[in-house]
Amino acid sequence: MESSNAIEIRDLVVDYGTRRILNEISFDIRQGEIMVIMGGSGAGKSTLLRCMLGLKSPTSGHIHMLGTDICHASREELYKLREQMGVAFQGGALFTSMSVAENIQLPLREHTDLDENTIQIMTRIKLDMVNLLPHENLMPSELSGGMTKRAALARAIIMDPKLLFFDEPSAGLDPITSAELDELIISLKESMNMTIVVVTHELESVFAIADRIAILGDGELIQVGTPEEIKASTDERVVNLLNRTPRESVVDGDQHLQRLTAE
């Protein structure tokens, strides 16, 4: 594995039963860059993310993360690797029985022996970074969608991870909150030297934050490149995605009638 790469994905194949979800995906994510993975619904983005998080074993292929092959790593190796990873899930995945502050502190309490004062100050630093400091004692059920996403981000970065994964950061947010979140993601990369992987299909956000973009379509890797390279792409699938052109399907009259009548 090249030292300049944080993640290397090689020949990744994922099948669900007889359906192929990811087909021979290979690309690298460099140390300290923001890589945005984008594609339409059903393109394979979420499956790729689940594989990178070690939540889904691929059918074949390899993922090397900070030097560890996560497809063949021991339980201990995965545990050690996960201490260096932060994940902000799309729905927040906050524990409903804990306050915002307690949710954010949880990784520190599970993985470190830090002094209580240090834990409290670190929590408030992260809450301040995501503009949630006045709301530390609220319960997740009392948070708006944007606040939930920000709380999830604060928990994901509480351990200052080397790798941050962010699933759909802008989905469902108003444009101002979304822009603030984009700025925070860029600051985290620049100040904390994090490698950040963002899965999204919000175009505005993609071009605001990405150093490079990987575009998936129907389980294939269509293109990897800088925002400028992606904008200049002549690949029809990339152009359609950027122009939000609806997919056209060729209708065979006989076949369609057969499908509808189940004959």
């Binding site: 830090l114 630093i125 904390m192």
Partner: protein, 109 residues
């Protein structure tokens, strides 16, 4: 991380170098609080800090809080660029007393 405490007549200087992360911040906290416990102002030299995470920043904040409540001068000297970026991100560059040279700190105590 390296953490060396030097004693001057009227104050202490804590020289930090390398990476300050979750593994080393407890030692930094111990050194800062131990030094302040002796009742002398503290200047923390951060010129050689290549990385500091939020646990390290939390140790600096707790030290500042302790110094304030004991009415002791507390400052950060020659902050390296990576450390300054983190202080700026956390808006603590506006909170700590930052010094470019030791004479500035001497005249402040």
């Amino acid at each position: 991380m390296k953490c060396v405490l030097r004693s001057e007549n009227e104050y202490h200087v804590l020289e930090l170098s390398g990476e300050i992360d979750l593994h080393f911040s407890p030692e930094l906290r111990k050194q800062i609080l131990g030094s302040l416990n002796e009742g002398k102002p503290l200047l923390i030299d951060m010129a050689e800090v290549s990385y500091i995470d939020s646990s390290g920043i939390a140790s600096l904040v707790e030290g500042f809080q302790t110094a304030k409540s004991s009415d002791l001068a507390y400052g950060l000297l020659s902050i390296s660029s990576p450390a300054l970026q983190v202080l700026t991100l956390t808006r603590l560059d506006k909170v700590f007393s930052l010094y470019d040279d030791i004479e500035q700190f001497q005249s402040a105590i």
